[in-house]
């Protein structure tokens, strides 16, 4: 089981400032807790500010086929938006980010693990429920699962011909992240502050205010 928690306003607001936003809320599998009320409140604010081009509230966006079908109907609203804000677990954000290849896709949530069974076992993208989703500074590609060392500050020196030092069959995750950011014209996000992972799992030692993603 996992739990998604909204990223703080301080984190999300600068990403959305002055931008037209298309919002995707995934209420997904019942095993996932989704902060519905807070999300609705934020959406109302953004709508009042005239920033929202459309809102899609749906489920199982982690399934690419399903996602494609649902997004078809919103084509023009998505086109009108500068950025797409996805509130889902990390897998959902990665699926959207891959499908809307040329759009800037932001994660609106952090994903934490909860003991117990996980609902859907996603096929294509992995999320380790690291608790402070990095997708907003990695072009929507998860550094925790796409990089063999789960590096969060950039590529190590081990990539050869674009492949990871650990597995010559696997593309280097940071190579992919770099390419993606370059394509989106967002290499500037690599100048973000030093990221230090928080491995604490209990609420007390986790200090969300430290997170600046």
């Amino acid at each position: 089981m996992l739990i998604t928690e909204l990223k703080s306003r301080e984190t999300t607001a600068p990403l959305l400032a002055g931008k037209k936003v298309f919002i995707i809320n995934c209420h997904g599998c019942r095993e996932v807790h989704f902060p519905e009320k807070e999300a609705a409140g934020y959406d109302a604010e953004l709508s009042a500010a005239g920033q929202v081009t459309g809102i899609l509230t749906t489920d199982y966006i982690c399934n690419p086929e399903n996602l494609k079908l649902r997004l078809e109907k919103y084509k023009s609203q998505i086109e009108a938006a500068d950025v797409v804000l996805v509130r889902s677990c990390g897998v959902g954000v990665q699926t959207v980010s891959e499908y809307l290849e040329d759009k800037i896709v932001y994660a609106g949530c952090d994903t934490y693990p909860l003991p117990g069974h996980q609902g859907v076992t996603p096929q294509e993208y992995k999320c380790d429920q690291c608790g402070e989703c990095y997708l907003n500074i990695t072009g929507g590609i998860c550094p925790i699962t796409a990089c063999s060392k789960s590096l969060v500050n950039g590529q190590c020196g081990g990539a050869k011909n674009g492949k990871c030092e650990v597995d010559s069959e696997m593309e280097c995750g940071w190579e992919r992240i770099y390419r993606r950011l370059a394509m989106l014209g967002r290499l500037d996000v690599l100048k973000c502050p030093v990221q230090i992972r928080n491995f604490a799992t209990d609420d007390e030692t986790r200090q969300p205010e430290e997170s600046n993603l």
């Binding site: 063999s148 060392k149 789960s150 590096l151 969060v152 500050n153 950039g154 590529q155 190590c156 020196g157 081990g158 990539a159 050869k160 011909n161 674009g162 030092e165 650990v166 280097c172 940071w174 190579e175 770099y178 370059a182 290499l187 690599l190 100048k191 030093v194 990221q195 230090i196 992972r197 491995f199």
Partner: protein, 292 residues
Amino acid sequence: MKITELFDRGEFVVSAEVGPPKGCHIEPLLEEAKKYLSGVTAVNVTDSQSSVMRFGSLATCKALKDEGLLPIFQITCRDRNRIALQSDILSAAYFGIENLLLLTGDHTKMGDHPQAKPVFDLDSVSLIHTVKQLESGVDLGGNELVGEPPKFAKGAVVSPCSDSVDAQLAKMERKVAAGADYFQTQAVYEPEKFIKFMEKAKQFGKPVQLGVVIPKNVGMCRYMNSNVAGIHVPEEMIEELKKDKEATKAGITGVEIVARIIKECRPYCQGVHIMALGWESKIPGLLEKAGI
């Protein structure tokens, strides 16, 4: 002494690398270092390089220092979490070891204990940040250190001939922002690529030492070309090594090649870092040939 003081004085800084043995007798290493490394300014000590378990880097640094050499303590994030890393860095300060080279490290799968847990609690960038924080008298947990905080020359690495050179430059920029004072590079065999890289790296305003590895034979070059990240030995160089087998075996050809690379790159960098990989005895001859 911090090697940054030498860069500041405009010196062309030469360092060489030694790898501790698998075992607890480092006397031969110390003897070799005294014999062959008198012409270099600083000596890097690797930290279980390529994830192969070896005698410790910190203890070797201390022993080298006692012999009058200037050690650079290499530290990777592969085996230690942030508590152990900071603890070892404080220990280094007590021993008077003032030069660090801060690395992410190879994955444990690459070495002789592939079952080991890869740690990577921190990485090169956050480790540089951590040392900087220790220097300000506070540890990474935000707790104050007792007494005068340590001061180091904080080194980092970069791979100028990598096929992902732009991603490498982006990482270099993050290292500079985190507090890196100087850089050593992966081995260079393509001076044009290095020079092009330096054109871009110049903007960071940090000294860069050109990394070199003396090619011992054709097999080694072929091996590096297919297995070692960021290294590409051009075909002409391999041909050169093929020509005179005796000269190659004696190290003459390899030394000639590297001396040429150093000469060509020297105007663009602030020093050279020699990774002799067991051929420490060739270093004095190399320095002479390269005119250093």
